[in-house]
Symmetry: C2
Subunit: 269 residues, 2 copies
């Protein structure tokens, strides 16, 4: 069983109640990597017998660090219509709500299709160097292969007084390889280091407070992607008053937008 699937595994407790457990393999500096938590919340909804359709949207709010050990997830169906389902999800640990999420599923059909924006033109993943993440202490960074095409993270810092670019473009894939699905895509949507680190090159107190991902690709396209790396683009517009925006796109190897999203990041100093 892949480490990713182990990390998001859930035991059903009752209708709409699930037991999960933090995984040191996907640890962040404080608590679990947000992507693995998001994938676990998505897994709870997709595992619910009432669930119908594929993921369209997930918003995850990181209210408090999830302590190491077991946690409980509650899935609540808010509405189930002809095309769409709305779910609210809460993760509780130590008697406290640590994470909330809203998740939308939908039945999709073949319909109007148009992609006015093209994927960045970059060399194929096989021609790009693997980034050595050894200097970084976070476990989750070692669960992915990163190959940067533009704006690699300044792992050894920046020249004094300098500011790096907020934008980065990179190939990314599960390590070891795992065929793409909506669960791994949910996790990948958080696989971009915080833009504050890209710009400043130092690890000051910072963390994502809310993250939203919208899924545009259909199941067929995700299956077609297989274990090939996906292309990630991330950028930020403004850092101000202890917060910055961060937006991202994930593109298939064949240049289709799989998902796009945004997060808002708190920082201090």
């Amino acid at each position: 069983m892949h480490l990713f699937d182990q990390a998001i595994a859930l035991a059903p407790l009752a209708e709409g109640r699930w037991q999960g457990r933090t995984s040191p393999e996907y640890a962040n500096l404080v608590g679990p990597y947000g992507g693995i938590l998001s994938a676990c919340l998505m897994n709870a909804v997709l595992s619910d017998p009432r669930a119908a359709g594929d993921p369209v949207s997930i918003t995850v709010n990181f209210c408090a660090a999830v302590p190491e050990g077991g946690y409980e997830i509650a899935t609540r169906q808010i509405r189930a219509g002809k095309y769409l389902q709305h779910w609210s999800v809460e993760l509780v640990s130590g008697g406290q709500i640590c994470t909330t999420a809203s998740i939308i599923l939908a039945h999709r059909g073949a319909d109007y299709s148009h992609q006015p924006v093209t994927a960045p033109v970059v060399p194929p993943a096989g021609e790009c160097d693997l980034l050595d993440m050894a200097p970084m202490p976070m476990g989750w960074l070692h669960r992915y292969d990163f190959r940067f095409v533009e704006g690699p993270p300044p792992l050894s810092g920046l020249p004094t007084g300098g500011q790096g670019p907020a934008r980065s473009v990179n190939w990314v894939a599960d390590k070891p390889a795992r065929p793409l699905d909506h669960l791994s895509l949910t996790s990948l949507s958080d696989s971009f280091l915080l833009r504050l680190f890209h710009v400043r090159g130092t690890l000051v107190p910072m963390g994502t407070v809310s993250m939203t991902t919208h899924f545009i690709a259909t199941c067929e396209e995700i299956v077609e992607q297989g274990t090939a790396p996906v292309l990630g683009v991330a950028d930020a517009i403004r850092f101000h008053g202890n917060f910055h925006d961060q937006h991202m796109q994930l593109w298939s190897a064949s240049g289709k937008l799989l998902a796009s999203g945004t997060q808002v990041v708190w920082f201090k100093q």
Copy 2:
């Protein structure tokens, strides 16, 4: 009292319970304009005596059309920490949850500030023509002054077989003028017509299912903006399988990013 403030007015019923009412002035094709609903949900949290800090994030999930008439809003504080508060909000009408939201407030201080992306270079609002929205039936469109710099909506349709650009840039202001605050900024974040209409020029069945806005500007900057128009940029990357993404930025008259966000839109045909 400004029509906007009338439309988002709430009567307190008990701790965390509020009574509101739909306003024909801000009607959409079906149900209320999403921006006015979002502002009303934000108003409920900001009116709660337990609220502390300024808005940082709002995600609104449109689960069902809100019927004309009265509705009730429940505000629930999920977590209140030193810097941040997390809230969950539900709007109920006719015994059904029609809208859910998660809202984050924060205390902000003066800290690192950096804006690597500059606002689009455009003529000042005073030099741009007002768009005549008379052909459009939705009430809310008449509550704003729109002045397009790029990609005006194809109100009279597109040549057969043609596709318009998804991207638009426009000045927008409350009509009549009203000093900007987080409530009107919340509403303005939804003031972009759906990109599917920009691209296809026809009103097929479509609607936003989830919308997220992140606020980067501080209160001082919002006050400083006063009644001046804000500059809105909206775009979409891909329309596929009954959904499209739509992202936006709202810039101050002096070129600062006030807010950015994303929505996911369902469509059929």
